[in-house]
């Protein structure tokens, strides 16, 4: 039996790497803003089951992130990306 690599938050994905969205959830203990953000991420295509790829990470600090989801590319900040859990390939 092979162990599947464990889930990581999207903001931890290295540039050039791909993965699959597993779930999108508001950060625990954060308010309505965070829930709103999670919903918008899903509306942009960060939906469980979708393939994503980290295209570029800005410098310095590895932020913002350019992420491909479907045929669209979005720029996110790290804390937004952290709401998305991915299964890296």
């Amino acid at each position: 039996m092979t162990l599947a690599p464990s889930l990581i938050n999207l903001d931890a994905l290295a540039a050039g790497k791909s993965g699959t969205v597993v779930h999108v959830a508001p950060a625990s203990g954060e308010g309505a803003d965070s829930a709103d953000l999670a919903r918008r991420l899903m509306e942009l295509g960060f939906v469980p089951g979708e393939k994503i790829r980290m295209l570029k990470r800005g410098m310095p600090g590895g932020e913002p992130l350019a992420i491909k989801v479907g045929n669209a590319t979005f720029a996110l900040r790290r804390y937004e990306a952290a709401l998305v859990s991915v299964q890296p390939e």
Binding site: D33, D36, L37, R39, R40, L41, M42, E43, L44, G45, V47, P48, G49, E50, L55, K56, G58, M59, P60, G61, E63, P64, A66, K68, V69, G70, N71, A72, T73, F74, A75, L76, R77, Y79, E80
Partner: protein
């Protein structure tokens, strides 16, 4: 009934089409294609979001009205733009009425994202046509879409369009003719949209895509290759800096010839009137008040158009969001998002479109801070004042191989940028909230800019600017002329006539406040209209020093007068004043409309006045101490 009235009547009763879609789907290009010059831009009642409406006739001669709605990713609105779109299609905006037909535009290369909105809107139950736009690009990438099958799956008419190509709208026009006559339907309540979860909607999208497309995953390799360079951590910022430098160079060098032509033209008209009219109040009003005043502002049209030429091209080809991406970190340092870059860039032409462009920022606090600092960007209206004072007081010599005058001008621009960053940082800190700001910005595929869209965009900017010249500035100039002409000088006057006018009295009263920063009554008179519209200050100084020329001629004859009547300390103080000078009235009124609260307009005027006074005070006294 004349032909014009017939057209107007037909238009008023024509069915209303709402054009709807994701941002970057080519919706506005399609709108331009359908309506050409038969479009008008206004604002939605209560908000300054642009409302673009146009009209056209189908090949069979049926008239239609069409409304270009702001781009939206979803009807669960996150921005004021999206709220407008939601309210219009939901029939909640009483002034607009609900649309009769919805034309949903989707990017054929990006159906996975775009179709979700289509499914959401479909739940409203209005008659709908789907425009599969950019089918040419999709075909080139080998993406095959079975249009007939897609229409069956969605239960709606699907047509292929290429909005950037002449005749690319034909499919849509045919579909509209087949739909005629349009039977009005009342939309379902908006709650119908939320009845299905985002995940379920996405599952449906995936199912449809699997059924109707082939090679759907072919991506845009060219855009990725370009991004590898443009978003590169080292090359990216260098490209951005070079680009900005070239744009500002072009704004100043290309504009020189048309600006000279405009001022020569204005002068010519003034002289023509001077020679053919009897001397008197009417001639004075026409030549000095109206032609001189309006001419001194009109001269900025070339610069504004050149700046917008570049902004529109960069926007159309998809570069601007990349610039925002590159600057996000930097702007994050003062608590702004990279998105603020675009409004701030526009503000270099004029703060009004800048303030309006801030509405693409989702976070309300971010948006407010961006609006509040936009007028600190050196708008082109400050240039004539800078140019005049620099020419009069800064010697024409070279320092480290560059012109000292140019260096001072550059320093003034940067003083504006740095103070804006400082104000943003302070506002973010003082509002206290530690809530993190979202960026969430699409980086669309690159494509060639479309000349037709560019021309229409520039024409709109020119119209907005000319409206301002024709209304606000014209009124101000007439008012200023009246205030500085009446009452005339008494017999045996020792000062120029303006000293005894209402403007002169006002100037002398203001001198009490402004003497500590080195401004005499002459400057104080110029400051008053300068607050209404900065560029008017130069004309006002000309009036004060009793020079009746206009345009360039005025600047050249005013230069020696100023050099002999002001101290260097006063001149530097005036430059410092104009870096911050309280915002022009038009901008303040736009700020009030955009923020929906007059308090912010007062706050802006107040803080800029305080900064201007402080900067001038320091400049004046330091310069005096150093012996200037």
């Amino acid at each position: 009934m004349g032909v014009t009235e017939q057209v107007a009547q037909a238009v008023a009763h024509a069915p209303m089409i709402a054009l709807l879609g994701n941002p970057n789907c080519g919706k506005t290009a399609l709108f331009n294609r359908l309506t050409g010059s038969r479009q008008k831009v206004a604002n939605y009642a209560g908000v300054t979001i642009e409302r673009k409406e146009g009209h056209f006739a189908s090949p069979q001669g049926h008239p239609y009205r069409v409304l270009d709605l702001p781009g939206a990713y979803s009807l669960s609105a996150h921005t004021p733009d999206e709220a407008i779109t939601r309210d219009v299609v939901g029939g909640l905006r009483a002034n607009d009425g609900s649309p009769d037909v919805i034309v949903c535009v989707v990017d054929a290369t990006n159906l996975r994202l775009n179709l979700r909105l289509v499914l959401e809107i479909q739940r409203l139950g209005l008659p709908m046509i789907l425009c599969l736009n950019m089918v040419d690009v999709a075909k080139k990438r080998g993406i095959e879409i079975d249009t007939a099958k897609l229409a069956r799956e969605l239960h709606m008419t699907v047509v292929e369009t290429v909005a950037v190509q002449s005749g690319g709208e034909k499919g849509l026009l045919r579909a509209l003719d087949e739909m005629w006559p349009v039977v009005p339907v009342k939309p379902q309540p908006l709650a119908a949209i939320d009845a299905v979860s985002v995940e379920d909607t996405q599952r449906e999208v995936r199912r449809i895509l699997a059924a109707v497309t082939k090679n759907y995953h072919n991506t845009d390799e060219l855009s990725e290759k370009i991004d590898n360079v443009v978003l590169h951590p080292v090359a990216g910022p260098v490209i951005l800096a070079v680009l900005m430098f070239l744009i500002f160079q072009a704004v100043f060098t290309w504009a020189a010839v048309p600006m000279d032509m405009i001022s020569a033209g204005v002068e010519g008209i003034g002289q023509l009137l001077s020679t053919h009219m009897a001397e008197g109040v009417l001639r004075s009003l026409l030549v000095e008040g109206i032609i001189g005043g309006v001419g001194s502002v009109l001269v900025f049209l070339p610069q504004i158009l050149i700046l917008f030429f570049f902004i529109l091209i960069l926007e159309d080809c998809g570069y601007l969001p990349r610039a925002a991406f590159l600057l996000d970190r930097l702007m994050g340092g003062v608590g702004l998002s990279g998105r603020a870059f675009i409004p701030l860039l526009s503000s270099f032409a004029c703060a009004i479109p800048g303030v309006m462009a801030a509405r693409t920022i989702q976070n309300p606090r971010d948006r407010l801070v961006t609006i509040m600092i936009a007028p600190l960007m050196t708008c082109s209206a400050r240039l004539p004042v800078y140019a005049l004072v620099i020419a009069a007081f800064i010697p024409e010599r070279e320092v480290w191989g560059v012109s000292l005058q140019g260096l001072i001008l550059f320093a003034l621009y940067f003083a504006g940028i740095f103070s804006a960053m400082g104000v943003a940082w302070f506002m973010k800190r003082s509002t206290g909230s530690k809530a993190k700001q979202a960026l969430m910005m699409e980086l669309p595929s690159y494509h060639w800019p479309n000349l037709r869209n560019l021309a229409i965009g520039l024409w709109e900017r020119a119209k907005i600017f000319l409206m301002r010249v024709g209304t606000v500035i014209l009124t101000l100039m007439v008012l200023l002329w009246a205030l500085s002409s009446f009452p005339g000088a008494p017999a045996g006057a020792t000062h120029p006539p303006i000293y005894y006018s209402i403007a002169g009295m006002l100037g002398r009263a203001l001198e009490v406040v402004f003497a500590p920063i080195g401004f005499g009554w002459e400057i104080c008179i110029a400051l008053v209209p300068g607050m209404a519209a900065r560029e008017v200050a130069v004309g006002a100084l000309g009036t004060v020093y009793a020079l009746s020329q206009t345009g360039d001629e005025l600047a050249t004859s005013l230069t020696p007068v100023l050099a002999s009547s002001w101290s260097l300390a006063t001149a530097l103080s005036l430059l410092a004043w104009y870096v911050f000078a309280p915002q022009c009235l038009s901008t303040l009124s736009v700020v009030r409309r955009e923020t929906g609260d007059v308090k912010y307009a007062f706050m802006m005027a107040g803080y800029m006045f305080a900064l201007a006074y402080a900067a001038s005070f320091i400049t004046y006294h330091v310069a005096r101490t150093l012996g200037a």
